[in-house]
Symmetry: C2
Amino acid sequence: MTQKRRRGTELEEAIYQATREILDKEGLPALTFPKVAEMAETSKPVIYRRWHSPFALAIAAIQDKIKLENNGRTDEIKFTGNSLRDDLLQVMQRFIVSMNTFGKSYMSVFFSGMSEQENEAMQKMIMESARIDVSAIDRVLERAQKRNELSVINVTNDLKLLPFEWLRYHLFLNKKVDNKKLTMLVDDVLIPSYQHVFQNRLK
Amino acid sequence: MTQKRRRGTELEEAIYQATREILDKEGLPALTFPKVAEMAETSKPVIYRRWHSPFALAIAAIQDKIKLENNGRTDEIKFTGNSLRDDLLQVMQRFIVSMNTFGKSYMSVFFSGMSEQENEAMQKMIMESARIDVSAIDRVLERAQKRNELSVINVTNDLKLLPFEWLRYHLFLNKKVDNKKLTMLVDDVLIPSYQHVFQNRLK
DNA sequence: CTTAATAAGAAACCAATAGTATCTTATACG
DNA sequence: CGTATAAGATACTATTGGTTTCTTATTAAG
């Protein structure tokens, strides 16, 4: 009855896909090895040999997806705007898109019981994405400076990260972020804030 | 061997306490009825009769805690500050305290697989806390207006909620919010933003 | 081409435990 | 004091997560 056997990368890819499907549809609590094996049309031992917990598998599956869809990174945007405002909107829009490729479902993974090293892996992923976000804002601010809109060398990292964190909060909670919210963020929060820091710099 | 039997509220309180203890120490995945029964020193049927899932029990236990510790609500603050800045800092500090009484552990509950009605209950809790947060900011802005600092009738709800959401994001992710971050939020973000909306109103 | 090493998959098995049913008896209330 | 109600003990069942063993397809080496 056993005709073909997948191995190596091909097999693992099928397992990752099954993992993500379960994660999307039912969340982490429902992610068990037997279920993954069935959905990936392989056998339990294959899974058990490779990962030592459903959580570890979940992380691996997510990282695999990140590797696959390496697009949408906010630090690789080709800016088309002619103002600080345009650039900021562009970054934020792009950010929302790239966040949506991971569903909120993956977020459950973040907040579940994690072991020490699992938590560490998680923290690393978060740190990495923070680095990317900051560099995107840096590029935007540089462009603004070249346009002589403002000079904001002393914007803190915390401030740079704020818009991303606010957006992530909404995506976590599955709250819609429409254009109205986004322009509010850019026009009423970010730009006034940058300008304020700029003014202060001059004083 | 059975001497005394607790009933009604007394019994339920013990169950809630046990539930919270497990939630704190091991998270939602570890919350099972048998374990709760053992920890609360009662029997499984007692639990099974009352709740139909560990998740439902978790929600009930959290709501019970909210009811018990009805203090720390940001809308009941007795303001002592003499400026918009002072008031804002006070609200945010209070908010952090009240959020900390719930650990991040509770957050895992929010993000786990929820049924329809469970999700509804959750949304209601979030909406309620949003209402409270908005009313706190409203009071602060009113006071600012009376002081003739600024008039900001047309601040949107989204903008009013932003600081709370940002803080919650950090508390979710177990990130420290020190005084430096807090003053950054108030001085470099909120006040400039309110002032900007104020200016715009005048134009 | 043959053969040996490797790893996938099938299947049976074990152990833990979530959930249920039954029965006894403490407690509350009329 | 008697009856209804609900707590708690206990035993049982059924599910299922995890393990072990063995067969065999696949790959790589000789």
